[in-house]
Amino acid sequence: MIKAIIGVILLIITQKAIGEVDVNFGFIGNPESEEFNGVKLGLDEAEHQGKFIGVNYKLFVYQTDEDYSQIDLLDVIVTNLTGTKLLSIFEQFGHLPVVNLSDASNLLRRECIFNAFHIIPSSTMVSNANRLATEHGQIRAWQYSFKKYAARQLNNRYFAKFNRRMSEEAWYGWAGIKIISEVTMRTRKPDDLMQDLKEDIKFDGQKGRRLSFRHNGQLRQPMFLVKNDKVIEEIPVHSNNKYGGLDLIGEDKCD
């Protein structure tokens, strides 16, 4: 009896110690975009995962030139703005990680902005992947018909939710949210997100490889060579080299 009471007390203490964790995303940009559809799917999946372990997610949506209400609550910004608008977001929210979904500029990577996390591959990654391709085709970061590494399931979930094929842009939005939720569910410390994203993250984006951020903020990831709507090559080829060979595309220089 005493053992049982102690057990219950311990359980209550343990549960209280673990507690619930709230993670608040801010999306800045166009809510009619493909990227935002991806964000919504990513949020659904994060919420599904979070309910098993007491992590709650909220999304605040801001269109450009809007007052940033409840901005103090945010733990991370996800945006599909580009160019100077994006640069001003990095600056304005210097204390938060800012996830770039849409700007592929090499110059932006070379600035090595401390709080920048680029999901969309840089132009250099695309051109390097083209150079490594052994056939003619289109280099893409995602393909709706891809099936390996449970990509089929992700494409099916996207189609079921939006009745359309998952585009590259939608993948960027989805991956941006999922990377954050993967990190926060493990650490339960949204305040440390900026540093934790730069560490070893455990996420493959349904691409079958361990993805991680370079020093310049670019997400290491394989690219797909697509021909006749099918993925015919994954570039770079997976190897036992550092990062599985992913540094063969793109660069990690700072100006």
């Binding site: 449970a150 493959d204 080299n241 599985g244």
Partner: protein, 320 residues
């Protein structure tokens, strides 16, 4: 009377000669994802006996506790096909829920199965073919294992990166343990105190204490291409065998110290694992080579490969 005795002796002797291993009959069954079949192999001779057509994209396999039936998850048809072990014919079929993949058969006979597309584990009574419970789990549920006492079912969810511990008495989740990226399969220690989980993308194996769900040890395989999938405990109840996926290797791991002791080269994209009843042989499905490798567990080396159908996935052994 004496004549009858002589005749009986001759019959028994002849039987022994004609079937020298009559009491050692054992089979290997392999699902072939792309040829929609199950390969039946004589475990004693390691020869292919026949291919059984089962339907579109067969994956998980399981044996009924009374060994009368073998269940096959036919993913492309959302069905479980039942193979009778007397004659290796499909005798009946029942609905499995969407996209069945891996499953485990509980000592009671109930089937716990992952429905990958709908984040659900279904409990099916194979006698009636009815789904008797649906348990919401993480996204893309995959491997299912059951504790030796039958009390706990562990389901891994690939995209939510968790091992869900489920009570087999009330079908409620009791614990959710966060593990490495893309957990695939699990197995229990013989005493039921620990469960071992493979994580494909992070290349990790987690050792979880069942009583409190704490991870007591977690190792990462050194090669980036090592993508652990299936896992099982050897007959010594100490040695773990882990299928390394596209690393094309089996990893031999000490389950006490969690150190990798050896690696055994097999065919490409090694996926499923099964042991012979003696524990002396380990069978691996080498998906891209359309074969199984046969490993001598004492020597820890491949002694033979056997060609099967296209893209072999799951494997079990069955001894009548």
């Amino acid at each position: 009377m004496r004549l009858i005795k002589i005749i009986l002796t001759i019959i028994i002797w002849c039987g022994g000669v004609m079937h020298p291993h009559a009491n050692e009959v054992e089979y290997i069954l392999v699902t072939n994802e792309k040829s929609d079949s199950v390969s039946l192999i004589d475990l004693t001779t390691l020869e292919l006996i026949k291919e059984i057509k089962v339907g579109k994209r067969p994956r998980g396999l399981g044996l009924a506790p009374d060994k009368s039936e073998i269940y096959v998850a036919v993913s492309g048809e959302n069905k479980i096909k039942v193979i009778e072990t007397d004659n290796f014919q499909i005798t009946r079929t029942f609905y499995s829920g969407d996209d069945p993949e891996s499953f485990a058969v509980h000592p009671s006979g109930l089937i716990f199965i992952s429905n990958e597309e709908i984040a659900q584990t279904s409990v099916i009574d194979p006698r009636s073919g009815k789904i008797i419970a649906k348990i919401e789990v993480g996204i893309e549920p995959e491997g299912v294992s059951i504790s030796p006492d039958g009390n706990t079912v562990v389901v891994t969810s690939e995209s939510s990166n968790m091992a869900h511990f489920i009570s087999s008495s009330n079908y409620k989740i009791t614990k959710n343990v966060i593990v490495g990226a893309r957990p695939r399969a699990s197995c229990f220690s013989e005493d039921g105190k620990f469960v071992f989980v493979t994580s494909e993308i992070s290349g990790e194996i987690s050792k979880i204490r069942v009583s409190d769900g704490s991870i007591v040890n977690q190792i990462a395989l050194s090669k980036d291409m090592a993508k652990p999938k299936d896992i099982l405990l050897g007959a010594d109840q100490k040695t773990l065998f882990v299928a390394g996926g596209r690393a094309n290797e089996i990893y031999v791991v000490d389950s006490i110290t969690m150190t990798v002791e050896n690696s055994i080269q097999v065919g490409r994209r090694v996926w499923g694992l099964a042991l012979s009843s003696s524990g002396k042989l380990l069978f691996t499905t080498d998906g891209l080579d359309h074969q199984i490798s046969v490993i001598d567990t004492a020597k820890q080396s491949v002694i033979k490969t056997v060609k099967v159908g296209q893209f072999p996935w799951g494997v079990i052994t069955y001894k009548p």
